[in-house]
Each structure stands twice: as C-alpha cells, then as structure tokens.
Amino acid sequence: MSDPLISVKNLHTQFHTDDGTVRAVDGIDVDVSRGETVCIVGESGSGKTVTSESITKILQMPPGDIPIGEVQFRDVESVRELADQFPKRVFDVHEDDAPGTAGTDVPPEEDRPGDEKHFVIVEERSGDRISRGYIDMVRAPDNALRKIRGGDIAHIFQNPQSALNPVYTVGWQIVEAVQLHSDDDDEAARERAIDLLDRVGIPDAAARFDDYPHEFSGGMKQRVIIAMALASNPDVLIADEPTTALDVTIQAQILDLLAEIQEDLGMAILFITHDLGVVAEIADRVVVMYAGKVMESGEVFDLFESPAHPYTRALLECLPGRGGDMVSIGGSLPSVTNPPDGCRFAPRCPHAVDDCFTGDQPPMYSVEGADQEVSCVFYGDGYDESVVQTEFAAAQNRTARTDGGRTTGRRAGTDTDESVRSDGGDR
C-alpha cells in the first residue's frame, strides 16, 4: 500500500490557560489516503476539532501550542515546490550516506545536522527529482503553510453563516478563491466559478453568481462553501461538522454531494463529526476519539459490526431512536487539565480493572480478524478480550431485533425510492 497522503503522528496539541494546560489532543495518530474518507468521531471536548485544526495549524497560537508530534503531508508536487522555495530547510535522509545503504527512517529532529528547523523531508530521489518525501506541517513556517492551506488542503466548517463574507457577492468570493491559486483571468475565473456552483448543485448558477450570501439558505450556503473549497482542486478536504447546523433532509443532500465529489475528484476527506449515523453514511475508516486520545480506529464495517472498545460500544448503544433501550454511559468527561492515569475512559467503563487505572493510555492493539486497532488493555497480553465483547453480543441481538421495526419503515421508503429521482448519489 502506498503512503497515506496525510499522516498525523503522535500529535499533542495544548492550550495554555489560566486554569492550567489543557491537553486537547494528547498523542494521536491518524492516516488519510487519497480517495479515502476518514471520519474522526467523538463527543464535544474529545479533541476532534483541534486535531483537524492542528493539521494546517489554523488554531490560535498562542494559547495553542504543538510541543510534540508531526503532521506529514505527502504530496510530492508540494514537496518539490517547497524544497525549491526553502532550500535551507530541506532535510534529505540520504544526503550523507551512499544511496541505498541506510534505511529510510527519518532521524528525530535533534539528531539532524544543522541548526535550521527542517520541515521539507526528502526520503527518496530518482535522479535529481524528489520522488518521495513529505512536508512536516507542524514545523512549517506560516508562509509555507499559506500555500498549502486552501490550496492543497481545504477546510469547510460547521457554520455556513459565518464562513461567507456578507458584504461580497457569492460569485466574487468564489472567483477570489479561484484566482488565489491559479492564474486565470477574470473571464476564465468567472466561468470556473459558475461551473463550480453548478457542480455543487446550486440551481441557476450563473444567475445567482451576483447574489449576496444572505440570499441563500443554510444548505445552499454550505454548497457555496464547498464550491469555494473545491476552487483550488485540493488534494485533501477537511470538513469539520459540515452538516451539523443543517436539517436532516438538507444534511442528506450535502452528504450525497460530498461523496459524489470525492468520487469524481479522488480527494481525501477528513470528516469531523459527532454523529455516528453520518459516519456510517460516508466513512471508509473511522477514528474514535475520547478526551484527547484515540480509543479505536478501523475500517467502517468492522468498527460498526464489532466495535472493540467499550467506549465505542457505549456510544453506539446510547443513540436515541433505535427502538431498543438506550443505555447511557453515565459519569462525565474527565478533567482536561489533569486527566486520570491509565485509560481515559476507565472511570466510566463498566469493565475497568485495576490495570486500566495505572500507567498511560494502553497502546493500540490490533484486533484479530478485523481491520481495527483498539486502545484497551483487554486486547493486550494476558487478558481475554471476550470479557469486553460478551455484552456486545447481547447488544448486537437487540439491534438486530429492533432493526426489524426499522426495516419495515425502510421498505416503505424503498418502494418510493425507485420513483424518487436519485440525486446521482451512485455509490
């Protein structure tokens, strides 16, 4: 398998406040590959938004601070471009040794020669051209980041009202986004903007080009924002709760649109949400966060069918409206400034044993027979993972039973589905 496009490694993001240091993200790993949708799911305060903002460092610094960790962006073109622009800050793994002798491991920062803070890391060259390498976003300076933000990596946010400037027309704002990352003249940029607006499903795109944001509904504004994000042909789209402020019927439209665009353009999407329903709808891989740590990550089908971590299961079981009994998690989020020892979820976990309360968060163990990793002591040596899975079997049965009721509704829906015009959401 090729390298992921973005890989977040051991990321720590902190905020220094009057009440102490808030460790919002406390050592997490996330990989996103081309053409893949990765969902980070978690409750408020889990650190999911901070993670997404740490990638392009759009968070307020200070009080924000990333003391440890790396965010690798492996887009060869960007690496080449920035290597030319910042020759002093390029670190070439093979520079000093004969080609092919050493491994491709990148030495830690303090072991690298020179005083410069390297952020363009070159791992392989074919001839003179860089063929493999990455940009370390955490160490990249602001002027390098500006090239990447909005260009290679685009963001869309939860609240469409505040993401558009109310004093400019929608068309002007998209044209601006188009011209920021291309040399198009006004006429070409305008055509591209209309094309984009039509692409994201705005009816009468050319006629609405000169409308102001307040003349659009919430769902339409979110479409405009997606159009703006697409203006630069990004490799990665980071979507932070883009449908949370919208009604369900509009949410379904936007999710369809995102899936469709991804299929067309082969982007990587990092999707932040708190809604497991949305995750099931669009994710390829899922990362479950809790109190700044990753509890579990894995392929979407495996994760929903056999959630390995007690927290993931609890999260699924407390969803309202599945027909069965809701099982509430109980307890409350741990302190952000002074988190407990051991597993962050241990104080609320029904299976917690003594080992859960000591040391650090358990490492990510692979789950046997599934594309899944879980941070839970029961998957480690000397423990029986079935302890945390027995109860799940019961829950599974219940879900199956109550699903019966829903399927009836579904069937009624599916009958009409054939007669409904499908919005092209072919997946």
Partner: protein
C-alpha cells in the same frame, strides 16, 4: 394514560406581519403556524417534529401565549386560555411549564442555581426563602444532582447538568403540562440518553402531559407516545410513534425518516434525498404545501410518467414559472451533455451550443431523460423547451403550466384518517379512498 384530554389546540395560527415603510404598512405575512389541531392527555407525550422553520417552536410559544396567537383556541382542561386575563394567565403558567433548547442561555448567569430553580416559586407566591431552599434542595437531588449544588452558578455546570436543573425549574411548581422545545439538541449523544430517561421517569411518576418538540426523529421515538409531523406551518401526519416509524403514510414523513443517517454502514445510500429547500412560509405553495418537493407528486390524467421523471419535469415546470431559464449556466456547465454534434465553433473561436444542444443541456440540468417514455408528454416537453431556447419563454411556460398540472397544487389536502388508522394530509390517500368508495369511477 387517561382518556381525559388536558390540552386541546384547535386551528392555532400565528402569523407575523411583514411591514414596509414608515407607516408600517403590512405587505405580507409569514405564516409560521397556519392552523394546527392536536390534543394531549395527562401522562401522554406528544412529539412535534419538523425541519427548522416549519413552525414547531412557534406552536409552543403561542400555545403558552408567550406570543399572542393570531387565531385559534387553546383549551386547557376545557377552558380557553386565549381569553384569559392577566391573573388567570399567571395561574395557567404555573400549571404549564416550558423547557428550552439552550441550557446555557436559559439560566440567568447572575443567579445561583438555587435562585433560578426557586424563582417560579417566588413568582407564584412562596416568599419564605428557607422553604424555597428546602424544596429546591430536595428537587435537585431528585433530578440527579446534589443538594449542595444549590449555591453554585450556571457556568459551573456542564450542559447535561444544566438541563437537569432546567427540568427541576419546570417541575418545581408541580405543573400538569411541560412543553419541551428541543431539550436535548444542544447536548452530546451520550448525555441525551441520560436526560431523556430522566424525563421519561419523571413523567411517569407525576403523570405529566408533555409536548416534546424536536427536529430529531430518533429522540422523538425515544420519548413520545404520538408524533405530529409538521411542514410549513401545518401538520401533515399525526400518528402513534411506533406505527409512524414502521408505516409512515405521508410522503414527507417517509422522506424525513429516510434522511436520518442510520448508524449502520450496510444501509448507506438507501436514504431518500429530497430535492430543494423548504419554501418560504411567507409565500407557501398552493394546494399541498409539500408538492414542490414531494417525490410522490401525483401526475396529471392522461399521461403515463415514470414517477422519478415526473418529479423532474415538475421541477422544471416550477422553475420556468419563476422566469426564463438561466441558459448561461447550461452553456458553461452542461456543454458536454449534448454530444459533439451540437457544439459549434463561433466566430470568436469559442464553442457554443446550438438549440438542440441547449435543450439537451436543460434536460441534464433537471435530470430529465433525453426522451420521456410517454410520447405525448415528450412532445409537450419538447415543444416547451424549443420555445424556451428560442427566446419565447412565455409560451413555453404556459404550455408546461397547462399540460402538466398536478392535482396536488389545486387541492389542499386535509388531515383525514388513512387506511392505516391515523390521520395524514395527502391527496394520495384521499384518492385511494375515493377509489375504494367509488369503484365505478375507475
């Protein structure tokens, strides 16, 4: 659940005037709530569900007379509260309490939790501070907080805890009806479950009637006995919860149920996607208000449409009513739809679509197939499109308007009992029933 009705709402309307100019002349009305009827019995929870802007919150505020309703009667234990004077209204407000969406905004930041919860007691005449504190302490414990919390301030509580406090504030005057407006929407899912089960327990213990307003059908399913589905100020279907979920009768209810993303990746892509946005309540569509988005909109007599294509043709027809089509978009965005044959190179070197190409582009824009299955319908559509691309918008529009009328825009359906045993407002059901009642017509 008793058979007695506690609250009965009849023909409730709330319109907001749109005014213009210095003299505040009324130029239109936002019909936020446009004639809704329902009733709630003691111990029963009625859910009101709908998208934002459908008027569900306005129902709550106008039935409690926090806003004066424009028309309609609200009977509380048989008495019409819309005719109450100040003193009677105050007494009524003790018996009907409200819980709000935002647990942070619904508490005065300058008051301790104890003062806030005890405030309704003070307003209704319990002036003994110590007695209020005793009652509040007891109540705080019963909603799962500690009596020591009484002197703490709202900012010291989490959202879920604040919503417990809000429940305590609503309960403290021992009401008979609680109106809860999106009480868990601002909370995390893991907290929602706690609050919902607390509400269920409390309701069972005190035989409370509850009006539960939410946009989230999952939450509604968890707490409600019956559900009313609202669309653009009207109730389109009202049914017992489980029955509604298993056998929705109104196309809108079906679409709403179908749009909820299910936490099961095996079911992805099965959702029903409604086209377009909710129309403005200041100018609701004629006939059935949902007909502009309805996937099951009824085709006219005499044409055989595939339902999906009929919806698309309706979209085109509704669009043409608003004005000439935006051909520039069609030219820029749909130039490849027409096929190479229709692209001509103009004098300035740019490629331009000819009329046939434009027509094909319009069809693509509106998801209409390049050829409809019904020949007569195809003929009408083609003539209309030809007129449209040759700058004769009026005749194209009129042709579509006349030929492709749907009964849904001519007749406003009323809430009628359906074959499923509950009420829905949809012509499809009326039609079905007519067919059953008058088989000779067929």
């Amino acid at each position: 659940m008793s058979a007695r009705t506690l609250l009965e709402v009849k023909g409730l309307k709330k319109h907001y005037p749109i005014t213009q100019g210095v003299l505040k002349k009324e130029v239109g009305r936002v019909r936020a709530v446009d004639g809704v009827d329902f009733s709630v019995s003691p111990g029963e929870t009625l859910g009101i569900v709908g998208e934002s802007g459908c008027g569900k919150s306005t129902v709550a505020t106008s039935l409690l007379r926090l806003e004066e309703p424009t028309a309609g009667d609200v009977l509380f234990e048989g008495e019409d509260i819309t005719t109450y004077d100040k003193a009677e209204l105050k007494r009524f407000r003790r018996r009907a309490q409200m819980i709000f969406q935002d647990p942070t905004a619904s508490f005065d930041p300058r008051m301790s939790i104890g003062e806030s919860v005890g405030e309704p007691l003070l307003i209704h005449g319990i002036s003994d501070r110590n007695r209020r504190r005793e009652i509040v302490k007891d109540l705080l414990e019963r909603v799962g907080l500690s009596a020591d919390d009484i002197d703490r301030y709202p900012h010291e509580f989490s959202g879920g805890q604040k919503q417990r406090v809000a429940l305590a504030r609503a309960l403290v005057v021992n009401p008979e009806l609680i109106v809860a407006d999106e009480p868990v929407s601002a909370l995390d899912v893991s907290i929602q479950a706690d609050i919902l089960s607390l509400m269920n327990d409390i309701q069972a213990e005190f035989d409370l009637a509850m009006l539960f307003i939410s946009h989230n059908l999952g939450v509604i399913r968890e707490v409600c006995d019956r559900v009313a589905v609202m669309y653009l100020g009207e109730i389109v279907e009202i049914a017992p919860t489980e029955e509604l979920f298993s056998n929705p009768q109104h196309p809108y209810t079906r679409a709403l149920l179908g749009s909820i993303p299910q936490p099961d990746p095996r079911q992805r892509g099965e959702s029903i996607t409604l086209s377009g946005d909710v129309p403005s309540p200041s100018n609701p569509p004629a006939g059935c208000r949902f007909h502009t988005r309805c996937p099951d909109v009824i085709p006219p007599e005499g044409y055989e449409f595939e339902q999906r294509h009929w919806r698309s043709v309706q979209d085109l027809r509704q669009r043409m009513r608003k004005g000439p089509l935006d051909l520039e978009t069609v030219r820029t965005a749909h130039s490849d739809a027409a096929g190479d044959g229709h692209v001509q190179t103009a004098e300035d070197g740019q490629s331009v679509l000819d009329d046939e190409g434009l027509k094909a582009g319009i069809r693509e824009e509106f998801d209409i197939p390049q050829r409809l299955s019904d020949d007569e319908a195809e003929d009408v559509l083609d003539r209309a499109l030809t007129a449209e691309v040759s700058d004769d918008h009026e005749s194209g529009r009129d042709l579509l308007d006349e030929e492709f009328q749907t009964p849904c825009e001519q007749t406003a359906p009323e809430l009628r009992e359906t074959s499923a045993g509950w009420e829905a407002a949809c012509l499809l059901h009326d039609e079905q029933r007519q067919r059953v009642e008058q088989p000779a017509d067929d």
